[in-house]
Amino acid sequence: MELNAVTIGFAVFTIFTLGGGFGVVTTRNLFQGTIWLMVSLFGVAGYFILLSAPFLAAVQILVYIGAIAILITFAVMLTRSVTRIKARYVRLIPSFIGSLVLFLILLLGITIPIFGGQLPESAPEYVATTRELGTALVDENGFVVPFMLASVLLTAAMIGAIFIARDENA
C-alpha cells in the first residue's frame, strides 16, 4: 500500500473513529463521552468523503455535531446526577467477551468471504451526484414513498418527543 493522501486520510479517520468510539464506551464523564462520540462521528464523515459521498459527510456533520451533540449535552445536563454514578458498568466481563466474539466473527466474515465471491478491490469511476439523489427522491419510480414516510417519521418524532419531554407542572 503506497503512501498518498487517501491512505493518510484513511489512517487518520480510523484513529478518529475507533479512538472516539473507545472513548464513548469507557469515559466516566458523560460530557466528555459526548465529545468522544463527536470525534468518532467526525471520523465517519471523513470516510464518507473518501468514499466520494461528500454530501453525506456534510450532512453527517450538520446533523451529529450541529444538532445531536447539542441535544445529548442538554439531556446530560438535565439528568445531572448521572455524572456522579460510581459504577460505570454492569456485566462488564460477559459483555466484553460477547462483543469481542462478535467482532471476531464479523472479521472472519469479511476476510474469508464464504458468503459470496471475492470482495472488490477497486471502485467504479462514476459517482452519483447530489442532484441525482434529489431527482430520485421525488421520482415515482424512485424513493418518493420513503421520502414521504421520512417526513411522517420526523413529524411523529417531534410531536412525540415534545409531548413526552414537556413538563406539565411548569
Binding site: A5, V6, G9, I49, L50, S52, P54, F55, V59, L62, V63, G66, A67, I68, I70, L71, F74, A75, M77, L78, R80, T83, R84, V127, T130, R131, E132, L133, G134, T135, L137, V138, D139, E140, V144, F147, M148, A150, S151, V152, L154, T155, A157, M158, I159, A161, I162, F163, A165, R166, D167, A170
Partner: protein
Amino acid sequence: MNILNEWAFVGLFAVMAPVFPALPIVIAWLFRPRKPNVLKSSTYECGVETIGDTWVQFRVQYYIYGLIFLVFDVEMVFLFPWAVAYNEMSLFGFVAGFLFIFLLTDALFYAWKKNALDWK
C-alpha cells in the same frame, strides 16, 4: 479522483485552520508571566467558594428548542438535494417536496399550540 483532490485541499485547510490561532497562543505561552496562586486560579464566581460540580438550574425548554432544531436540521438532508434538483423536476416532484415541508410545518404548529415554543 478530481473530487478527492478538492477534498485534499479542504483537509489540509482543516489541519491548518486550528494552527493559525494556536500560533499566537503558543507565542504568548513563551512570553507571558506565570505567577499563579490559589485565589487567582479558583473559579471566578461570586467570591464564595464554589461547591460541587458545575450545575445550574436547567430548564427543559433548552431541550425542546434543541429538539425542534434537530428535526428541522435533519429535514435538510432531503431538502438540499430537492432544491438542487428543483430545476429538472416535474410538477409531481415539486408537490412531493411541498408535502414534505408541509408535514414538518404541522409539527411546528403543534408545538406552537401546545405552548412548547414559549420561554417560560
